[in-house]
């Protein structure tokens, strides 16, 4: 009956139909089922600027190096508070237009960091613009390309009020004295990046990540219990992008912590207040975002201690108790 060796018609028909059936079972059916996903009530649709930014994201193919998925395993915890869910992509993964399909945001390569939560992790517009203009101006070892075509070089005299000037350090300018102004492309892209925050899960349960190696989890839990949080690691993940690993900051963009009077102050209140609530009092530096929602008291204390005892700094220790007090004060002020 099935003499495939001699009957080319049968051979071709069987090979095709089995493949089509398998394909429908393994790709079309599960893909169709995922069309009925609903968004989180806490999630918001993209604004016009953010959507334009998503288009730039696709155009420059940022997907080639940046993922947007927090996998349910311990090592991905640094990229989000919980593993990603199909609902997370409700607003962003839609067909772009007649010509282009839904963007492949999940990605397959993490040459650069995951961006699921970049809006929360790195909220400052100034930092993003500087980073796009030349990534090495803020992250020395970065290998990300620069995107100078999203910016304009202007004479200082021709700057208008509407222009968003990027505080590029002198050494990264092509021509000294010129000002770098962000074009709409850059502003939209940054708007999109700032919008990338994991929406909070209704119910807000603590989601378990699968540990990478069982022993690791025990060690981590042990450390959490004894309060042994690694301040240096936290500083590197949270603060170093702006204030730099060296604590020297960036002239014209981010203030130094090395030798800073606020950091060295025996009374840590102002320092903790800035970390918790953010800071925007100095026109010569970018805006510092608040970290109260992102870091707990132990973590902030660990970071503060790292800053107060590194790079030649020598100030007194801060405890989680201190942070708790300041946090309560800040909460009151905000009400």
């Amino acid at each position: 009956m099935f003499n495939f060796h001699k009957d080319h018609k049968k051979l071709v028909i069987v090979a095709l139909s089995v493949f089509v059936i398998l394909s429908i079972f393994i790709s079309v059916v599960p893909a169709s089922n995922l069309q009925y996903v609903q968004p989180f009530p806490t999630d918001e649709a993209l604004t016009e600027a953010e959507r334009a930014g998503l288009n730039v994201y696709v155009q420059e193919n940022c997907v080639a190096c940046h993922t947007q998925q927090v996998r349910g395993i311990e090592m991905d915890k640094m990229w989000g508070d919980r593993p990603s869910l199909p609902s997370d992509y409700y607003y962003t993964k839609k067909r772009l237009d007649v010509w282009r399909q839904s963007p492949s945001l999940l990605g397959s390569e993490r040459t650069g960091p995951d961006l699921t939560n970049i809006g929360k992790r790195q909220p400052g517009e100034g930092w993003h613009l500087l980073h796009l203009y030349n990534p090495r101006s803020v992250v020395n070892a970065s290998i990300m390309p620069s995107y100078p075509w999203m910016f304009e070089e202007k004479d200082a005299t021709r700057i208008t009020d509407e222009d968003v000037v990027v505080p590029v350090p002198e050494e990264y300018l092509n021509e000294p004295g010129k000002k770098i102004v962000a074009k709409p492309k850059a502003l939209n892209l940054v708007a999109y990046l700032q919008s990338l925050k994991q929406p909070e899960m209704p119910g807000n349960e603590d989601v378990e990540f699968i540990p990478s190696i069982k022993d690791d989890l025990d060690v981590a839990q042990e450390a959490r219990k004894s309060g042994g949080v690694d301040g240096e690691k936290l500083y590197m993940n949270t603060c170093a992008a702006c204030h730099q690993q060296s604590g020297k900051g960036l002239v014209g963009a981010f203030p130094p912590l090395e030798g800073s009077s606020i950091v060295l102050d025996d009374d840590p209140e102002l320092m903790l207040q800035i970390i918790l609530a953010g800071y925007d009092a100095r026109s010569d530096y970018g805006v510092m975002p608040p970290f109260a929602a992102q870091l707990n008291d132990e973590e902030i204390a660990a970071i503060a201690n790292h800053e107060r005892t590194s790079w030649g700094n020598d100030a007194s220790e801060v405890t989680a108790e201190d942070v708790k007090k300041v946090r309560e004060y800040v909460m009151e002020m905000n009400q």
Partner: protein
């Protein structure tokens, strides 16, 4: 022996105890837990010892059997000697005496005779000594009569393919350098994100696809013992596929990108040209096979016809919009990108190997049935494993599990194929040092086994922790698309073109191509594998991300070195190809007194 037995029983007693001690608490990650590793080690140890014991016993038995046989032979001989008559002994001694007295006269080799090649065995006479540096390889003796139109199609397909190979790997090389010097340029059209898909799509749709189809035309015609159904269709497909790559690359560099899904970066109006090209090629191949002059369909044609059909199907599924919002797109992406490699490049290339390898060795394929087994299992298992690119992602867990399970199933077609190729080569190993084609086949086969099994291992959840998302994947894809597909395609080109053009490339340059490409691939692969592993471990440790970038720097330098070698080898290859086709003999050389049953006796009119 006694000692061994004692220790053996000691171990068997210990084993359950050790198992019990380790089993508590290890529920997930069981494979990685020291208990399981230790257990496996112990079981294997017991097995090894048992095998050693068995072998010693067996050896002892064999020795005693041999001794018995020897003793018997000796007594038989004694009997024979004592049974001989006197004159028999005299004759033997007489003969021996003569033999002892024999001396050479000096004219035994006929040095005074004239040298005549009575049987026409000498093909080539040279006064120059051999190249002192390189071993001289055998030359192709067989020339195949091939219709001029078919030759032209093959030359154009391969010529375009080689152009895309050089262009695509030049882009790849440039991208590799950007890892080391990110400020190499500041031109938007050349930025990393836009250029990366140019590299991958060019070597996929430009180089590999065109080369495969070009080589496929010969296989289809030859193994069906007929001529190609329509040369016109072949030319249309040629134009369409080339246009796809030209338009697609310009669009990508201009920032027109389908959404960043790998190998689906060309927007649909452009990819449609490619799909039409494939449909034309399929119709052409199918009709040629349908007109075959022999009753059986050769196994190569199974692979080639099916891979065309499967690829057309998967392009349609990959580009239809109805189920691609949200993670639907991701499901389809896993399916599409994996099948693009598995059903198109791998299946088609295997089909080519089933013809070109036995043809190069001038002997039949080892097992036809193994080929058939590989064919059906390739279809069943490969189709289901796309989601292993998204393990631990928010995609449905059952989809991930199916993918992982069938990834392990891929061992069946892989081992079947590898066995078939190696057994075909068996007995012809000496050809490898004598041929410039076989090393390409051998490397392709070895990588077929190593690359594919490594891919299966990589799909397991544990290895996903370390290797997913980092440079290890890049190494894996080069191991397969380059180590397997490109090496097999080169083998095909070098084994067929001298036969149809009558011109052989310079052997030292073929050797140079082989070694430079091979060493380059190795440097590329090993550096990224080691670097990728360290990177994954750094992520597991929870170190700052930038540290994992810094630690990769030296590995990226080595990758660039490997990539440079690979690129140079392609230039050598391009020259070798040019050498084979320039001044080719346009007409078929008629060999006197021999029947040529193929092609030329047919004078079928083509409606073109």
């Amino acid at each position: 022996m006694k000692k061994l037995k004692i220790s053996l029983s000691f171990l068997t007693i210990l084993l359950p105890g050790l198992l019990a001690a380790q089993s508590e608490g290890a529920t997930d990650n069981w494979l990685a837990s020291p208990g399981i590793i230790g257990t496996i080690f112990l079981v294997v140890l017991v097995l090894v010892i048992a095998v050693i014991i068995l072998l010693t016993r067996f050896n002892a038995y064999l020795t005693s059997y041999k001794d018995k046989q020897k003793h018997k032979d000796r007594s038989d001989f004694t009997d024979e000697i004592s049974g001989l008559e006197d004159d028999e002994i005299d004759a033997i001694l007489e003969n021996r005496k003569k033999a002892k007295k024999y001396r050479l006269q000096g004219n035994e080799l006929g040095s005074e005779n004239k040298a005549v090649d009575k049987k026409g065995l000498i093909h080539n006479l040279t006064q120059r000594p051999n190249n002192p540096l390189f071993d001289e390889k055998k030359k192709h003796k067989i020339r195949l009569e091939t219709p001029e139109e078919l030759k032209k199609i093959m030359i154009y397909y391969l010529g375009a393919a080689i152009f895309w190979l050089v262009f695509g790997t030049l882009v790849g090389e440039y991208l590799g350098l950007k890892f080391v010097w990110p400020e190499l340029d500041k031109v938007s059209w050349l930025s990393f994100g836009r250029l990366r898909p140019v590299h991958t799509n060019t070597v996929f749709w430009g180089w590999s696809s065109l080369a495969m189809i070009g080589l496929g035309y010969f296989v289809i015609a030859r193994t069906s013992n007929t001529r190609i159904n329509s040369y016109k269709m072949a030319w249309w497909a040629f134009i369409l596929i080339n246009l796809t790559v030209v338009f697609g690359n310009i669009a990508l560099m201009a920032g027109i990108n389908n959404g960043g899904a790998e190998y689906r970066e060309y927007i649909w109006p452009i990819m449609l040209l490619f799909a039409i090209g494939l449909v034309l090629t399929f119709i052409n191949f199918y009709k040629t096979v349908a007109q075959r002059k022999i009753s059986e369909i050769y196994i190569s044609n199974w692979f080639i016809l099916a891979s065309l059909l499967w690829t057309i199907t998967l392009s349609i599924i990959g580009y239809l919009p109805f189920y691609q919002d949200g993670l639907g797109e991701t499901v389809v992406q896993g399916y599409y990108m994996h099948q693009g490699v598995g059903m198109w490049f791998m299946t088609f290339t295997l089909g080519l190997v089933y013809y070109y390898l036995p043809a190069a060795l001038n002997k039949p394929i080892y097992s036809y049935s193994l080929g058939v087994l590989a064919f059906w299992t390739q279809m069943l298992f490969y189709t289901l494993i796309g989601t292993h690119h998204f393990v631990f992602s928010p995609l449905p867990w059952w989809l991930q599990t199916v993918a992982i399970v069938f990834s392990a199933g891929m061992f069946i077609p892989v081992i079947a194929g590898t066995t078939n190729f190696l057994m075909t080569m068996k007995g012809s190993w000496s050809h490898i040092s004598k041929s410039y084609v076989l090393p390409f086949f051998l490397v392709g086969t070895v990588f077929y086994f190593v690359g594919s099994s490594q891919g299966s291992f990589q799909a397991f959840r544990f290895t996903q922790y370390i290797w997913h998302f980092n440079d290890f994947n890049v190494a894996h894809s080069h191991m397969t698309m380059y180590g397997i597909v490109a090496f097999f395609l080169w083998a095909g080109v070098y084994s067929i073109f001298p036969k149809i053009t009558g011109k052989e490339p310079p052997q030292t340059l073929v050797g140079a191509h082989f070694w430079v490409a091979f060493i380059g691939l190795f440097a590329y692969m090993i550096s990224l594998m080691i670097g990728g592993t360290f990177r994954g471990l750094s992520w597991i440790e929870g170190n700052a991300f930038i540290e994992s970038v810094i630690l990769m720097k030296e590995y990226w330098v080595w990758r660039a070195v490997g990539g440079t070698l690979m690129f140079f080898s392609h230039i050598i290859f391009a020259y070798n190809f040019y050498y084979m086709i320039k001044n080719r003999s346009k007409t078929d050389v008629a060999v006197e007194g021999k029947e040529r049953p193929v092609y030329t006796t047919e004078s079928k009119e083509i409606n073109a």
